[in-house]
Structure formats: structure tokens, C-alpha cells
């Protein structure tokens, strides 16, 4: 059984619960043992302006294990990866190590997207999501600042994933526009405006659902969708699923294991369509 250290990040117990639940279920189904990172702490998200401090916080997490570290949050992922790259500098590494309990000696960081694309490739899925038009929403930090999972300008890893699940990828022009999540508390208006455009562009592209890979993107696109509908006087009703929820459906997992009832915009009607097609109605 493959063992991977899992860094859930702060939102996994709250706004991102369905991501955490579905990640654990999908890993189990794939025969991957996720070992929650011992004594993990916050990576600082986008709110620690001092870069050395931010790298110190990331490095502390990376020294808790020898295993590859997997995270589901694009912000954590970008921060951890940035730390790995910056810590190649011996001077900085020595300075950071002088305050750490265990010394940093290098680490492998991955996003759950990588875990899924590695283990789903060449795997026969019990349920094909055929006929489902899914638009992947990349957001910002899955691919930035670069040298990570895919090109920051022309990524296709998520479209490939949608295809792997048997669904049809739909191109939405705003798939990489920032959701504004990091400033949504002090700057609600600015953030909601971005999200409104992102949701509208997905709808116009003819998507049945949006697939996301970051809990902050999900919060903005799903939990805030009602507020956006009221503010802009529109009817969106666009289901927003985590990549692990969609993968879980294709693996034949049930709605509870994927916490589908926790999404604000219910994905259940979509699921019914998938099941109906399977039974040949």
C-alpha cells in the first residue's frame, strides 16, 4: 500500500469538510494510505507578508515526515512548493534550520490532483460520468508561480482529469481568473464581482458543473453563490464539485462518503442523471 503524508490544512475541519471527507474516501478506494501529518500547523496562507517567516512556517510542516506530503489546498500547495524551492539556498536553509526542532533536508510536495492523476491513469472506473459537461476551474495557485504540476499559462491537467473520469471537459474563458478569496473578508464587493463573472462564464460555456481543486475557490463559488444570485438578481444554480467528489462518484462511492449533502448547491440532481444513464433510461 502506498503511504502518503496528508496535510489537510486549517479549513479541512470547517468550510472544506467535504473536501477532507471525500479525499480520505477516495484514497481508501484507491488503496492509498493517507497518514495525517503529525502536529501540522498553518502554512500562513496569503496573509504572512514576511517571506522568511512564511518559509519557516511551511518548513516546520515539511519536517514532520519523511514521506511525500500531499495537500488538497492550492494555497498550501503553492506555499509548500515555494518553500522547497527557496530552501535550496543554503544560507536560508541554515537560518530556518537554526529555529526548527527537526532539520529540513528536502521534501516532496504534491497536490491531490497529482495523487489522483497518477493513480487513476490506466484504471478501469466502475462508473463513467459520460454526458456530464464539466468545466474545470483552476483558480490561481495550483499552477503558480510555476515549475509545478502544469504550465501556469496553458494548463491541461484538469481537462485530462475530467476526460479520465469519462466526462466532457468544457472550456470556460475565466477558468484561471482569481476567485478573490484571499481578500473576501475585507473586500467583499471586489471578491463577489470576480466570482459572479466566473460563474456566469461557466454557465455560458454550457457546463453542467464546475470542478474545483481548492477549498477557498469552493467557498467562493459554492457557499457564496446564493449571496451572488441575490446581489446580482440572477439564477445560477451551478453545482460546484471538488475533484475528489467527482472522482469518488466515478469510483462508485456513495453520497455520504463524498459528503455531497454538504455542498450548498446540491449536486444530487446531476448524480441522478449519471445513474439514470447507467441503468439505460
Amino acid at each position: 500500500m502506498t503511504e502518503i503524508a496528508y496535510y489537510p490544512g486549517c479549513v479541512s475541519k470547517a468550510t472544506g469538510r467535504e473536501y477532507d471527507i471525500s479525499t480520505r474516501s477516495v484514497a481508501r478506494a484507491l488503496g492509498i494510505e493517507l497518514i495525517e501529518l503529525d502536529d501540522w500547523s498553518c502554512c500562513g496562507a496569503t496573509h504572512v507578508p514576511n517571506e522568511t517567516l512564511a518559509i519557516g512556517l511551511a518548513a516546520r510542516n515539511l519536517t514532520q515526515t519523511e514521506l511525500p506530503v500531499m495537500t488538497t489546498c492550492s494555497i498550501c500547495y503553492s506555499n509548500l512548493r515555494t518553500a522547497v524551492r527557496r530552501l535550496e539556498d543554503n544560507g536560508l536553509r541554515a537560518r530556518v534550520n537554526s529555529v526548527l526542532e527537526r532539520k529540513y533536508k528536502g521534501a516532496r510536495v504534491m497536490h491531490v490532483v497529482e495523487m489522483l492523476s497518477e493513480s487513476l491513469r490506466n484504471r478501469e472506473l466502475p462508473i463513467k460520468l459520460s454526458g456530464l459537461r464539466v468545466t474545470p476551474y483552476y483558480g490561481c495557485l495550483l499552477t503558480r508561480p510555476g515549475n509545478g504540476i502544469d504550465s501556469p499559462e496553458h494548463p491541461k491537467v484538469l481537462e485530462d482529469m475530467v476526460r479520465m473520469l469519462g466526462a466532457e471537459p468544457v472550456e470556460s474563458p475565466l477558468k484561471m481568473l482569481c476567485c478573490g478569496g484571499p481578500i473576501f473578508m475585507p473586500r467583499e464587493d471586489a471578491a463577489l464581482e470576480s466570482v459572479y463573472h466566473i460563474l456566469q462564464s461557466a454557465k455560458r460555456a454550457g457546463a453542467d458543473a464546475i470542478m474545483v481543486v481548492c477549498p477557498l475557490c469552493h467557498l467562493m463559488l459554492d457557499a457564496k453563490q446564493g449571496a451572488i444570485e441575490r446581489r446580482y438578481g440572477v439564477d445560477l444554480g451551478m453545482p460546484v464539485l471538488y475533484i475528489t467528489q467527482l472522482a469518488g462518484i466515478a469510483l462508485g462511492l456513495g453520497p455520504e462518503e463524498l459528503a455531497l449533502e454538504m455542498n450548498s448547491i446540491s449536486p444530487l440532481p446531476l448524480l441522478e442523471r449519471v445513474y439514470q444513464r447507467m441503468t439505460g433510461d
Binding site: 475541519k13 468550510t15 504572512v48 512556517l57 482569481c178 467583499e188 449571496a227
Partner: protein
């Protein structure tokens, strides 16, 4: 702090390559919140290089940056404009230049320093307390999340708090 000292400090924090900025505007034209900013990110970099400290630190743009890093991916000079924003935020914090945005960042960092992890409930509550006009959307959000069972007061405790304190104390004074 003199204007030249200000410029040198930002350069030290955000990287020497800033000096090579050609003012091409690739960063601003990639920026997702450019339309809301008073100074574009390109202009902000010019203000820094010209040592125009007061204008740079007073610019709202510092707080409208979402940290999306597209500017950083695209700059033809390898400059990290987002790092300039971070440097300016850091200087604002040190000089006690406060705003609702700065207070959010302060609360966020204090919570990491005292608990090791972020509790969204405590974060929102602390922020709403200091910025009462933010209370309504925060409550709205809270009700939505509560009804889905997605609110938790306890993000779990971190044992290595001494280590976290050391990280803040020793690495946080750049």
C-alpha cells in the same frame, strides 16, 4: 526613514531584480484586481524605485492584491511584483499604518502565533468585532455554513507551539 532607505528596504525584501523593471505593464495587465486599484502594480513598482514612500504606503492597491501570482509568472524581468506588495504590507505593519485590511492580516497572524492553526469562526468573529460593517455578510456566510455542518470552533491543537513562537521571533524580523 528616508526615501532612499525606503527603496533599499523594499529591494532587500522583494529582490534586487526590481531595479531592472522596464515599466512594460505586463504585470498590471495580468492583474485580476487592476480595475479596482488606485495605482496599478506597475506604477507601484515605479513609486518604490523613485523612493516615493508616502504614496506607495498609502496606496490601496497593496490591499487589493489577492496574491494570485500571475504578475510573477509573467514578468519578463523575473521580478516578483507580489513580493513588492508583501514588502509594503510588512512596512505598513511595522510603522503602524492601519486599515481594515491590515487588521485582517494582523488577526490572521496573531492567531497562528497563539494557536498554530486558523479557526475560521474565531477569525471572522475577531474581524467583525473590529469592523462592524463586515458583520452582516460574515453572519450570512456563517448561517449558510452552519446549516451544512461546516462550522467548527476547534481546528485542533498544535503541540509544537514553542517552535512556532521561535519561528515568529527569529525569522519574523527581516
Amino acid at each position: 526613514m528616508s526615501d532612499a532607505a525606503f527603496r533599499e528596504e523594499v529591494v532587500r525584501l522583494a529582490g534586487d531584480e526590481i531595479r531592472t523593471c522596464i515599466q512594460c505593464g505586463t504585470c498590471s495587465s495580468s492583474c485580476s484586481t487592476a480595475h479596482l486599484m488606485d495605482n496599478s502594480i506597475r506604477k507601484l513598482i515605479r513609486l518604490v524605485l523613485e523612493g516615493r514612500r508616502r504614496e506607495a504606503l498609502a496606496s490601496e492597491s497593496i490591499w487589493l492584491c489577492t496574491s494570485c501570482l500571475l504578475c510573477t509568472v509573467r514578468c519578463p524581468r523575473g521580478i516578483r511584483p507580489k513580493a513588492v506588495v508583501s514588502a509594503l504590507r510588512q512596512i505598513c505593519e511595522r510603522e503602524g499604518i492601519s486599515s481594515r485590511d491590515a487588521s485582517f492580516e494582523r488577526i490572521f497572524m496573531d492567531q497562528i502565533r497563539s494557536k498554530g492553526r486558523i479557526s475560521e469562526v474565531l477569525l471572522s468573529a475577531a474581524y467583525a468585532l473590529r469592523n462592524p460593517d463586515a458583520a452582516v455578510p460574515i453572519m450570512e456566510m456563517g448561517i449558510e455554513l452552519l446549516s451544512r455542518g461546516k462550522v467548527s470552533l476547534d481546528p485542533g491543537t498544535v503541540k509544537g507551539m514553542d517552535e512556532i513562537e521561535r519561528i515568529f521571533r527569529e525569522l519574523g524580523n527581516d
